[in-house]
């Protein structure tokens, strides 16, 4: 199992810190490098690489890369260098509906958090020479970037993430089906959404993708306000997407709400995991490492 990132590296994964960084590229780079520097002897290190050359050992090099056979033959220390390779295609699906623009007590809105997460994943994938694509949607597909591993592609993807704005109502099912039909080879699909809509069509879409042979990770991004419902005083709660409103006294409505949310989450977990789909719920006030670890875990399984 991967170890927990060190405290100093964690600082760069903190949403409060990340939100203050400038461009999406900087955010993604900071998160990924902070995350990787926090991994200790990670079992993921070295995957997707092939041997390239020998190099003479220098103090500070990892002893695990020392080639003992060469040492036995030549009585000299050499370490093995590897070259990364890729044959994976990754698709990032980011929900940009109006509900994703919600920000309660967290330092970033769900859309900002999801964008940084998507950018970090893209950055990580790009380091591994994986072809990465992006699809941002609400009730329609608003932005689409086909998967590619070209050098300038990452920049275009990050720029696209940076320019995302909250849209209208969400319809997660449509992009899932569209993507499932469009995929020609096995891919890794990452869905980033709050998943507060009706779960039935969403699960159906995800299973469709899975059926086409893709590995899927689903990130349910929720604000701490949505997770705890900390409101006080009677209020008219108005839905940011549908304008539906409910007058409620939080003190009385809190228990039922949290129960409903738990049931929704449990249903996703149950249905998706049963279908071999990873489901991760992330809190926008929490560091991004949990989401990145989930990705690495899925990625390693694929190898």
């Amino acid at each position: 199992m991967p170890s927990t990132p060190a405290p100093r590296a964690l600082r760069f994964l903190d949403p409060a810190v990340v939100s203050r960084l400038g461009t999406m590229e900087l955010k993604a780079r900071t998160v990924v490098e902070g995350f990787l520097s926090g991994l200790h002897r990670s079992p993921y290190k070295g995957f997707s690489v092939e041997f390239a050359e020998y190099r003479q050992y220098l103090p500070g090099d990892d002893l695990s890369t020392l080639d003992w056979k060469v040492y036995a033959r030549t009585d000299r220390h050499y370490i093995r260098k590897y070259e990364e390779e890729t044959n994976l295609e990754c698709h990032l699906l980011l929900d940009q509906s109006a509900s994703m623009a919600y920000r309660g007590t967290a330092p970033m809105s769900k859309l900002e958090y999801g964008s940084v997460l998507a950018g970090s994943l893209a950055f990580l994938m790009h380091r591994q020479r994986d072809a990465t694509g992006l699809m941002a949607f609400d009730e329609q597909i608003r932005f689409r970037l086909p998967a590619s591993a070209r050098p300038g592609h990452l920049h275009a993807l990050l720029l696209g993430l940076e320019r995302l704005e909250a849209g209208q109502r969400s319809n997660v099912e449509r992009p899932l089906h569209q993507l499932a039909e469009a995929l020609v080879k096995r891919s890794l699909v990452v869905l980033i959404s709050d998943l507060l809509d009706d779960p039935v069509p969403v699960i159906k879409g995800l299973k469709h993708l899975k059926f086409r042979g893709s590995d899927i990770i689903v990130f349910q991004v929720l604000d701490p306000t949505e997770l705890t419902f900390p409101f006080r005083g009677a209020a008219t709660f108005r839905d940011v997407e549908t304008a539906e409103h409910v007058v409620a006294d939080p003190a009385r409505a809190r228990a039922a709400y949290l129960r409903g949310l738990a049931e929704l989450t449990q249903r996703y977990e149950h249905e998706l995991r049963g279908a071999g789909i990873d489901f991760v719920q992330v809190d926008t006030s929490q560091p991004l490492d949990l989401a990145l670890l989930a990705y690495l875990s899925t990625r390693s399984r694929r190898k």
């Binding site: 509900s99 919600y102 709050d194 507060l196 604000d223 949505e226 409101f231 006080r232 005083g233 009677a234 209020a235 008219t236 709660f237 108005r238 839905d239 940011v240 997407e241 549908t242 539906e244 409103h245 409910v246 007058v247 409620a248 006294d249 009385r252 409505a253 039922a256 709400y257 409903g260 949310l261 929704l264």
Partner: protein
């Protein structure tokens, strides 16, 4: 309830703000944007009577806070509370030495005790004993404490000062209602030199006569000449009085003389006695019916010998004019001792140390011993007057005192200047007054140039250069007259201002500081007892005498006394009422309670508001 600054009550109009907000507020359930509304179940909003009650409590707390704030700024006070307060009764008893006449002070104490008995059960009583000082011998308290304080009182040696006593009484009353009972012999002298006193209208004045002063004989002054002591005897009686004055020197009778004084007259009584050089002198008379404290007067004999002034001359600088001027102006207080530089050469230079002052007219042949003796003389407190002349070498003078040689220099060429005093307050020129202008008639054609750094310059020549300079040197002082005093560089000796100038200049350098040795009881130094007589403080002998004004027996009526006390007229809206209101408000400090209640209201508002959220 009254308010000191009622205009601040307009601030209470601010209560309209929470009231209007309360009336306008209709949204019991404000809009809150949210995402997972689908998961929410509607619940009845608490708009019940309880919520209305909370709102009402909130409104009341806010309105109360604003009203209390406005009221606190308006500074409320309760006048009726002031009136209902316990009254203060201040009894001021005169203990000046005029009350020491037989039976007078006992009568005053009886009157004061009667005033204590008249006090109401709840009244607080304070006792003030006064002469030229007013002391609270019993702070506001019960009658027993007041009686005890009266029992411990005794006549003092001070003079009556009513103003001091009234000031202390007003301070004790602190603006509140009080009755001031003044027990005194109503000596008119107690108002001498004082303006009418102001007493607040809330202080009721009750003057009680302890008995008019009796006939009195007093010694009010003492003069000492070489062969005579003169006592000034005041007969403050309605009839002529005779008596005998006795002089004692260090406690031993040395002279006596009879006198006869007409009524209300002061006579000078000469007593033949050759003045001693040291010791104390007292002159006493016998007057058992009058005030005992003024029957004697005391003095300390100062050294009476004339100050000796050594005038250092030479064959070319004889000091003729200076010596004649000193002889004419000295009046026995200065004795000039002319010596040539040869006469103080060698071991004889030690004679310089015995002088009161030295005038240096020549440095020709002034040997090393004489120079050193001169420097030591000044260092130990002596005064030296240096008069510039052809016979005084500036370099020698500079060398004696270690001054820079550039400090003093002689004029290289003649100049025509006159003299002007620039500091008429200087002791040398103070006696001249407006006649100092006469110094401008003197014509000078030669002088020294003196750099005035570190020097005081009380007179300058008409070209601005210093003419008379003075500087302290250790314990002594040096005065330089920058031109000749012997008519070689000027025509000064031919002018009428010459003699007084020389006399004052020599007196000034001969004068040494001696601390005062005679005091009135009211002005005794620290450590001395406030009673007349000869006293010794830290090895120093002083004479303490009573204030002669108190020896007068002139008395006033209680009506006249009241006339000297200015009671402010209480006019509606006028200053006295305002002052009274301020004092009442200051005592009650109700605004502090207002602010405290406002804070309580705000805390309550905070709690109710929090519970509502």
């Amino acid at each position: 309830m009254n308010f000191l600054y009622p205009a601040f009550l307009l601030g209470a109009l601010a209560v309209a703000v929470p009231v209007v907000l309360h009336l306008l507020r209709r949204d019991v359930a404000p809009d809150v944007p949210f995402t997972a509304v689908r998961l929410l179940q509607g619940s009845p909003v608490d708009s019940s009577r309880r919520r209305h009650l909370r709102d009402l409590l909130l409104l009341l707390a806010r309105v109360a806070a604003l009203l209390l704030l406005a009221a606190a700024f308006a500074r409320p006070y309760a006048p009726e509370a002031a009136a209902a307060a316990t009254r203060l009764r201040i009894i001021a008893i005169d203990r000046s030495f005029s009350m020491g006449a037989p039976g007078r002070f006992a009568r005053a104490l009886d009157i004061a005790r009667g005033a204590v008995d008249e006090a109401g059960f709840a009244d607080r009583i304070a006792i003030i004993a006064f002469d030229e000082r007013a002391a609270v011998v019993a702070p506001p308290g019960n009658a027993a404490d007041a009686r005890a304080a009266l029992g411990a009182l005794a006549v003092g040696s001070g003079a009556t000062r009513y103003g001091v006593m009234l000031g202390k009484a007003v301070e004790l009353a602190a603006g509140g209602p009080a009755t001031l009972v003044v027990v005194t012999d109503l000596q008119r002298a107690g108002w001498e030199g004082e303006a009418r006193a102001r007493v607040p209208g809330a202080v009721a004045l009750d003057v009680r006569d302890a008995g008019t002063p009796p006939d009195n004989l007093a010694i009010v002054a003492l003069g000492m000449q070489a062969d005579t002591v003169t006592a000034s005897v005041l007969n403050a009686s309605r009839t002529a009085r005779q008596g005998v004055a006795v002089v004692t020197h260090d406690g031993a009778p040395v002279a006596r003389a009879s006198f006869s004084a007409p009524p209300d007259t002061t006579v000078e009584v000469p007593l033949a006695w050759r003045r001693a050089s040291t010791g104390t002198v007292s002159v006493a008379i016998d007057d058992r019916a009058g005030f005992s404290a003024d029957n004697a007067r005391h003095a300390v004999v100062r050294g009476a010998a004339a100050a000796t002034v050594m005038v250092i001359t030479s064959s070319d600088a004889s000091g003729f004019f200076l010596l004649r001027a000193l002889e004419a102006a000295a009046e026995g207080t200065l004795r000039a001792l002319p010596v040539t530089t040869e006469q103080i050469a060698g071991a004889r230079a030690s004679a310089i140390a015995d002088q009161s002052a030295v005038v240096l007219l020549s440095t020709r042949n002034l040997d090393r011993d004489a120079r050193a003796a001169l420097a030591a003389f000044v260092t130990r407190g002596g005064g030296l007057l240096i008069a510039a002349s052809p016979d005084v070498d500036p370099a020698v003078v500079s060398a004696i005192f270690g001054w820079n040689v550039a400090t003093l220099s002689a004029d290289p060429a003649p100049r025509q200047v006159s003299l002007a005093a620039t500091d008429l307050r200087h002791p040398m020129f103070r006696p001249f007054g407006s006649l100092a202008a006469n110094l401008g008639q003197v014509r000078f054609h030669h002088a020294w140039r003196v750099k005035p750094d570190g020097w005081q310059v009380p007179a300058r020549f008409s070209d601005g250069s210093p003419a008379v300079l003075e500087r302290p040197l250790d314990a002594g002082r040096v005065v330089i007259f920058a031109s000749d005093l012997d008519r070689r560089w000027n025509d000064f000796p031919l002018h009428s201002a010459y003699v007084p100038f020389v006399a004052e200049a020599v007196r000034h350098v001969a004068a040494r500081h001696t601390p005062p040795q005679e005091f009135l009881v009211a002005h005794i130094p620290a450590g001395a007892k406030p009673e007349p007589g000869i006293q010794n403080i830290d090895g120093r002998t002083i004479a303490v005498n009573v204030d002669p004004r108190e020896s007068s027996t002139g008395a006033m009526t209680t009506a006249e006394f009241r006339g000297m006390v200015e009671a402010p007229t209480v006019v509606a809206g006028g200053m006295p009422r305002q002052v009274h209101a301020e004092q009442t408000e200051s005592r009650q400090n109700l605004w502090q309670f207002g602010l405290a209640l406002m804070l309580v209201a705000l805390v309550a508002e905070s709690f109710v508001g929090k519970a509502q959220r």
